[in-house]
Amino acid sequence: MTDQSLKNRGFWFSEWAFPVFVATLCSGIFAGTHMYFVYHVGAFNDIAIVAMLEAGIKGGSYGAAAAFGASFLFARVLEGPLVGILDIGGALQTGIGIGVPAMLLGAGITAPLENFTLSLLVGALLGLLIGVVIIMIRRYTVAGSTSTFGADVMMGAGNAAGRYLGPLIVITAIMASIPVGIGATVGAAFFYAYKKPIAGGAIIGAMIMGAIFPILLK
């Protein structure tokens, strides 16, 4: 953890290289949301969070996704410079990848998500901005702050909430139709037996049974 010659290590360790790294990552993440918007694949986030954006795309409100994404972005950008590690999941994947697109779509702006080149550019600019903000916060706050602002509490709660998704998927599958419910139950049990997160098994099981016995649309 200790580096005596950090100043002499050049670009890759420098402070101003950080915004560049955030920019490339954000560019890719934002373009990933473009992929999801256009082709329905490739969003860089967990199912539960992507589903918030999907709820908006399907005609509902973008409010939940925008508020959720923005609050994570805000909290993580503040925390990042204090602890020395910017959280990719909260700040960039949820904030830039879900929160910002939800705000844009909620305001009726679709161009950055429909156009691939534009999505890369918008993502890069947002990333550059966040990187600069973080470096500025680092400069102007006490670098030696010992508080992590409850990051451990939030991460614990985040992981605990994620565990609910598996059982929830099995329940909604059962409510969708009997074959799909059986598929999800068997899939979840199979994944649990092989020590994988059961949400994945439940989805695969539901899809296989749903392909054989399609859910009747009301």
Partner: protein, 262 residues
């Protein structure tokens, strides 16, 4: 076939960009807090746990690849694990294969960025191209099952889990989170952002007292609540619900920002 080729082409670009950033950020984590890193505490812990053994790094990433594949096939979501676990661990594995010295490989931002870019291209392209070839009817099943499950998760499960965690984290954090969470649910429709901010303030004050950072935080939160309350029309809805006449100046103010008061 045309669409698949476009997806492959775009995935290559996206994978390279993401992998480059993740790799450099992960290596810089090992030099935090002197150098600003990027990743996550769990990523940092997991990378350390593999103790520089390329096979451990590879198999750890592989386990999450299957999970990401199930998720992207079902719902088009790559999972956060692509950036948090698969890319950093596989980039580390590819470098450690030839040189077991972590200080020259895993801790080196330049090498990790380049290795990460290559891994990103492979992983993102593989996941996106195979997922897009799954028939639409199967994806529909997944959406029909997933959307209601996700809606339940967002409300009420996540607010409850975060709320309980905040209350278990001490009296000050519990109070701030309860107040901000409750008002947050009223204004923004979900308590989680408010509870997260409550944890930030409560724990920040617990750890370092009322200093410039924590005071700025409270002011920023107050502004955030006022603005989002105004722009979501909470002020008007509130006055309606307690049967108070909406003053003309408030209607004019809303009109100034382009929203119509009923």
């Amino acid at each position: 076939m045309g669409v698949t080729l476009v997806i492959i082409f775009k995935s290559i670009i996206i994978g390279a960009l993401v992998g480059f950033g993740v790799g450099a950020g992960a290596a810089r984590m090992f030099h935090a807090p002197n150098v600003q890193g990027m990743g996550a505490f769990r990523t940092f812990g997991e990378l350390n746990a593999c103790e520089g053994d390329p096979i451990s790094h590879f198999s750890f990433g592989l386990g999450f690849l299957f999970n990401a594949w199930a998720s992207v096939v079902g719902a088009g979501a790559l999972t956060q694990d692509v950036d948090h676990r698969i890319i950093p661990n596989w980039a580390a594995a590819s470098l450690l294969w030839r040189n077991r010295d972590v200080t020259q490989t895993l801790h080196n931002p330049k090498k990790m960025a380049i290795a990460g870019a290559f891994v990103g291209v492979v992983v993102v392209t593989l996941l996106n191209s195979t997922a897009s070839s799954v028939p639409a009817s199967m994806q529909n099943v997944a959406t029909q099952v997933l959307v209601p499950a996700a809606n339940w998760l967002i409300n009420p499960i996540m607010p409850i889990v975060f709320w309980i965690a905040a209350m278990d984290a001490g009296r000050r954090t519990g109070i701030w989170s309860t107040v901000l969470g409750g008002i947050g649910h009223l204004i923004m429709g979900n308590a989680v952002p408010g509870i997260v901010l409550g944890i930030l303030i409560g724990k920040g004050v617990d750890d370092s007292g009322w200093n410039r950072i924590t005071k700025t935080l409270v002011v920023a939160v107050a502004i955030l609540y006022l603005l989002s309350g105004f722009f979501r029309g909470f002020d008007v809805a509130f006055l309606h619900s307690i049967q108070v006449e909406i003053p003309q100046w408030l209607i004019d103010l809303h009109k100034l920002f382009g929203s119509e008061v009923k």
